[in-house]
Amino acid sequence: MTLLAAEGVTLAYGATAVVHDVSLAVDEGGVGLIGESGSGKTTLARALLGLMRPRSGVVRYGTGDLAGLGRAGRAEFRRAVQPVFQDGSEALDPRMTAGASITEALTTHHRMSGAERRDRVAALLADVGLDPALAARRPHEMSGGQRQRVAIARALAVEPRLLVLDEPTSALDVTVQARILDLLERLAAEHGLGYLLITHNLGVVGRLCRTSSVLFAGRVVESGPTGELLTRPAHPYTRALRDAVPRLGGEPPRAAGRTEAAAAATGCPFRLRCPLAVDRCREETPQAREVEGRKVACHRAEEVLTTPGSPAPRVPHGGETPDAPRQ
């Protein structure tokens, strides 16, 4: 069942739209949202968390429009949907101990006796793999991984049904990242949590999400089963992303070239970076369409799927420069 969904959502800061007409559904289980910096992924997360109103379109919680929820409906939404942000040191009040932060979450919707609170805080800390004695520490007295665990415990304190994870591990050391991902995976299974995982890291999405959407310049360019997307991308941007990821002991990552090129204002937004762009891409904005089990917004998706490997990398090992003046 769909818990939370964006339907044709456009988001803007002032006159600048950063997310255009995006639709995305989060159900029970994991959904990935892949995007690089400036793709609008964090802005979209804010809208899904009810921290920002869409310029147009609807954020739907259950069957209702988030903007139209009454007091009780809003309180229920707040209990049901919780965020985990990139950096625990940012998400926790620096002046509060871990225990106080978790207690705040516990007591926002329920009255609780002191003993009950202490028990719940200890249980939550244990649940995220921390020593309950850590309740007395402030954020700066903990490591990055510990802070992120406390932030997760705080989110779990209200017994949510869905987590919005915005780059939950990208500020952490690699070994810590792996442990936090293990933890999230376990908690989601144990508590029956749905989650939206927002990240630039394809490996992380591949591991935790059954379906994913790829965001480029505020638009979903491809969405479908994660495995399909990452092993047989149908959009040239998805493919450029995949090819740029360095693999342990693998080939050097392929530079997709022209990463400086801005998103095009007309036609296909990716066309200035696209090795397959043709005249049609300039003239006609591609609409999302069903191609081999996924939705993709590319005129040439079939060719992307059938071209073996990537088109020639744009940064060669010698000679020509990829930054030749743009025509």
């Binding site: 809003r74 998400a91 007295e141």
Partner: protein
């Protein structure tokens, strides 16, 4: 998990830290002496009655001596006693002004900073109006309209002082409001007034506290200036600015009448500044 001990390494410049703390401590000690002098004035002043309306015309303008360390003034009052009692007036003014303008500024600033939108616009426009006038000029105008008294000085200075704290707090609170822990509290459904009290206010206070302690000296100087101009404390209240004004014409002949209250103003203003600078350096680490 990385060892928490590593975080201590990031605070390496230990020597600098110690130096900074020394500065703050020096300021606090100096200010403590002034505060003690003010509190204990009735007991430590050699001639407590001279702090008030007593006059001893026969002992007028005696130079410093064993009996009168700081000499006596035109009506024969002990200058040391009056300087000690003057500390009470000056500190009372400083504390009252900082409390009134600090509280008003912080409350309005935090609301403006967190709420944004029209609330911010209204509050900031009002502060702009106040800030458009030179502070001393506005204080002067107010003090002229009101009856000269210590209360007048407090009101006149506080009115010109709060917009600075409102503006400072608003900008700090606005940036605190964008931080993850505020978003996180909003996502929990914590009501806005509680978010402001619990998260925004405590995390916005530090720069304001530093500014308040830096400003203590400025308030004392302004208060002295107003009294000097005859718009503040008046006879027989012991007030440093007033004492300087009364003694200035005598400087060439009876230097002690003006010098000691002048020094008292200097030392107190200086100690506030040193404390504020020390706090700033310490807290901005």
């Amino acid at each position: 998990m990385t060892a928490p001990a590593l975080t201590t390494l990031r605070r390496t410049p230990l020597r600098r830290l110690a130096g900074v703390d020394r500065l703050a401590v020096a300021g606090a000690v100096l200010l403590g002496v002034v505060v003690l002098a003010a509190l204990l004035a009735p007991w430590i002043a050699p001639y407590p009655e001279d702090g008030g309306s007593a006059t001893h015309p026969l002992e007028a303008l005696l130079p410093p001596s064993g009996a009168h360390w700081f000499g006596t003034d035109q009506v024969g009052r002990d200058v040391l006693s009056r300087v000690l009692f003057g500390a009470r007036t000056s500190l009372l003014i400083a504390v009252a002004v900082l409390a009134v303008s600090g509280v008003a500024g912080v409350v309005l600033g935090v609301v403006a900073g967190y709420a944004g939108g029209w609330a911010r616009d209204v509050i900031m426009r009002v502060t702009d109006v106040f800030l458009a006038f030179p502070a001393l000029l506005l204080s002067l105008a107010l003090a002229v309209v009101l009856q000269p008294s210590v209360t007048t000085v407090i009101v006149a200075i506080a009115v010109t002082w709060w917009p600075w704290y409102a503006r400072l707090t608003a900008s700090v609170a606005a940036s605190v409001a964008t931080r993850g822990f505020v978003d996180s509290a909003r996502c929990l459904g914590v009501p806005a007034p509680l978010i402001v009290l619990r998260h925004v206010l405590p995390n916005s206070l530090t720069p304001v506290l530093v500014q308040l302690s830096l400003d203590g000296g400025g308030v004392i100087l302004t208060a002295a200036a107003l009294s000097y101009l005859g718009l503040g404390a008046h006879e027989p209240t012991s007030e440093w600015g007033l004492m300087v004004q009364q003694g200035q014409s005598l400087f060439t002949t009876d230097w002690w009448v003006v010098t000691f209250p002048g020094l008292a103003i200097l030392v107190t203003a200086f100690s506030f500044n040193v404390l504020g600078e020390g706090l700033r350096a310490r807290l901005s680490r």
